[in-house]
């Protein structure tokens, strides 16, 4: 920004009295955001404290989740979250980088704009609509074509054993991949367009083909930014609730098979809030939320670190 008078990074010093008041007033909602973040952590902690006191760290490592006997262990849902997000990342990363490369390096300007808009639309569709589509379109397709295919060819692996239900870990991972592709690809696009044109011209100038140019001039120098983009996508996948709840099958067991139903930290909260009649059950669900909050906070901070160092954001 063409700042003429102000020194860089120095707060504005006000001459008018009214301006000092104005600046003070504007600080209230701004600082309120920090307060809001702190109070989210505090209230979650307070509501979860009965279970935190009772179970301690064992909450994270125990795999029994039994509201009837008031025993709560979050291991199955943590496992489900990790596996479904991992599937999502594995599918979404190459896809998003491909999309971003196509949009920034190959597509003519107008085509790029149209396709860019379409990819953004993918991010705008409400989660519950993804879930609806998942139940009635994706899951039947997985059950009748994809999962039997994997079973026939890779059925000897524990990941592809068991009956193909359609709903389950694999379905959740796929729908998460669809949902985070626009997130990752839009940041990848920003990272790519921040690379100076000269770098591309230099590669082309010494005789590289366009793909070689993309590899040498674009992908090589944006590794850090791409890592940040993927981590940000991971953060989004970890906390995605509705679509996953509707399609993962909601069963609290650790199973190696990707066809088996499971549940994630977010989905167990959405799925059990209605049945949670005892105070400890509610507190256990809130503690799952607290863990999810902490995890996404850390993941997103790391992503931010990567992205700010690479000169983006």
């Amino acid at each position: 920004m063409p700042g003429v008078v102000r020194a860089k990074n120095r707060p504005v010093r006000e001459i008018h009295y009214g301006d000092r008041v104005f600046a003070g007033i504007l600080k209230i909602p701004a600082a309120g955001l920090a307060l809001l973040l702190l109070s989210i952590a505090y209230f979650l902690y307070r509501a979860a404290s009965p279970v935190i006191v009772k179970h301690g760290w064992a909450f994270l490592t125990s795999s029994t989740w039994d509201p009837v006997r008031d025993v709560y262990g979050a291991l199955p849902v943590i496992y489900g979250t990790v596996v479904s997000s991992f599937i999502a990342i594995v599918i979404a990363t190459p896809l998003s980088v491909g999309v971003a490369l196509f949009l920034t390096e190959i597509a003519p300007r107008r085509t790029g704009r149209v396709f860019g808009f379409l990819v953004e639309m993918l991010a705008a569709i409400p989660s519950v609509v993804y879930g609806l589509w998942g139940i009635f379109v994706l899951a039947p397709w997985l059950r009748t074509s994809v999962e039997p295919f994997f079973k026939t060819w890779l059925g000897f692996l524990p990941f592809f054993s068991g009956p193909p239900y359609g709903v389950g870990m694999l379905a959740a991972g796929i729908i998460l991949a669809v949902m985070i592709t626009p997130t990752i690809s839009s940041i990848a696009r920003e990272v790519f367009s921040a690379i100076p044109l000269q770098q591309r011209e230099a590669a082309l100038g010494i005789g590289a083909t366009r793909w070689e140019m993309m590899r040498l001039a674009v992908l090589q120098s944006s590794r850090r930014g791409l890592t940040g983009a993927v981590i940000l996508g991971l953060g989004r996948a970890l906390g995605e609730t509705m679509a996953v709840t509707m399609i993962i099958g909601n069963r609290h067991e650790v199973s190696l098979s990707l066809f088996a139903p499971g549940s994630t930290m977010a989905s167990i909260i959405a799925n059990e809030y209605a049945e949670a009649t005892t105070d400890t059950h509610v507190a256990a669900l809130v503690e799952v939320g607290l863990v999810l909050f902490a995890v996404t906070f850390v993941i997103n901070s790391i992503a931010r670190l990567f992205l700010s160092r690479s000169g983006n954001r």
Binding site: I28, G98, I206, T241
Partner: protein, 289 residues
């Protein structure tokens, strides 16, 4: 450049060219694959939802289980109510934060605020729902429209803040300087020249985040809950379009499934329309800067 670049040059030209075309194809296919779900969702929502969109969908209450017919009138009204309540909180707070960041956004407090806005934007929405549950629902001992509005409002703050900050930054610096040179105090310049000049795009940004908020389900599950009847009181549970879609989608009844698709069609059209309008309104402004 890297040392191994020499290897490329020695490889036969034809082979390199073949790799190049293959990768072109791969990238194009990747883009098309990424877009398949979009077209599939849009197609299904249109095909399944459009036939169920009739007068009674908009005007009638849900029928009891097992009876065909009925509509989502109360859910539509509920979503409007919730989004209105949310805007009361989210819009002023968001715009004020955006103003602070764009006009005074230097120094340590500003970077803390930016960090918090980023974090708040990336917290899973269900966590916001849990927070409001712990804060409001546990104290009031019942689900309410107010709690739902609060949850959606909190979700709106960071998005409104970020979009208004972006828009305010589009106002050229010399406009501010012109105002200051006339001897106006900064608050007058900010409110009456900067903010007034860019209010159109800011409103568009707000509408976009309203459209996003109206599709949110997770934070409403245990704040606004659901309600099968008309609801006039704000301290009572209220139904909303997304929660109703969720309830109907996981139910075993075909008629409810049809209505869920119809509700989804409304949400998708709303979000698409808002995004398209934003594109059209903002495109020329963004290009100029």
């Amino acid at each position: 450049m890297k040392r191994h670049f020499a290897d490329y040059l020695f490889r036969s030209y034809r082979k390199r060219k073949a790799v190049n075309s293959t990768m072109y194809l791969v990238l194009i296919v990747a883009t098309l694959i990424a877009l398949v779900p979009l077209f599939s969702i849009f197609g299904y929502v249109l095909a399944q939802g459009a036939p169920a969109l009739n007068k009674s969908f908009f005007l009638e209450l849900p029928k009891p289980v097992g009876e065909a017919g009925g509509g989502m009138a109360n859910a539509i009204l509920g979503t409007v109510t919730l989004v209105f309540l949310a805007s009361l909180l989210g819009v002023p707070w968001g715009i004020a934060t955006g103003l602070y960041l764009s006009e005074y956004g230097r120094g340590r407090l500003a970077s803390v605020v930016r960090f918090c806005a980023d974090m708040l934007a990336s917290i899973p929405s269900i966590i916001i729902g849990l927070f409001v549950y712990a804060l409001v629902v546990m104290t009031m001992k019942r689900f309410s429209a107010l709690a739902g509005g609060l949850a959606l409002g909190i979700l709106m703050i960071p998005t409104v803040a970020r979009s208004s900050e972006e828009m305010l930054k589009l106002v050229p610096q010399h406009i501010r300087e012109a105002g200051l040179a006339l001897g106006l105090p900064r608050w007058k310049v900010t409110l009456m020249i900067v903010l007034k000049g860019i209010r159109g795009p800011i409103v568009t940004g707000v509408m976009l985040s309203v459209a996003r908020a109206s599709g949110e389900t997770a934070p409403l599950l245990f704040t606004a809950f659901n309600n099968r009847f008309w609801q006039g009181r704000l301290d009572q549970p209220i139904s909303s379009l997304p929660v109703q879609i969720y309830t109907y989608a996981i139910s075993p009844y075909d008629d409810w499934h049809r209505q869920a698709w119809a509700g989804a069609l409304i949400l998708v059209l709303l979000v698409f329309a808002m995004n398209l309008i934003t594109r059209v309104v903002l495109a020329p402004k963004a290009r100029k800067s």
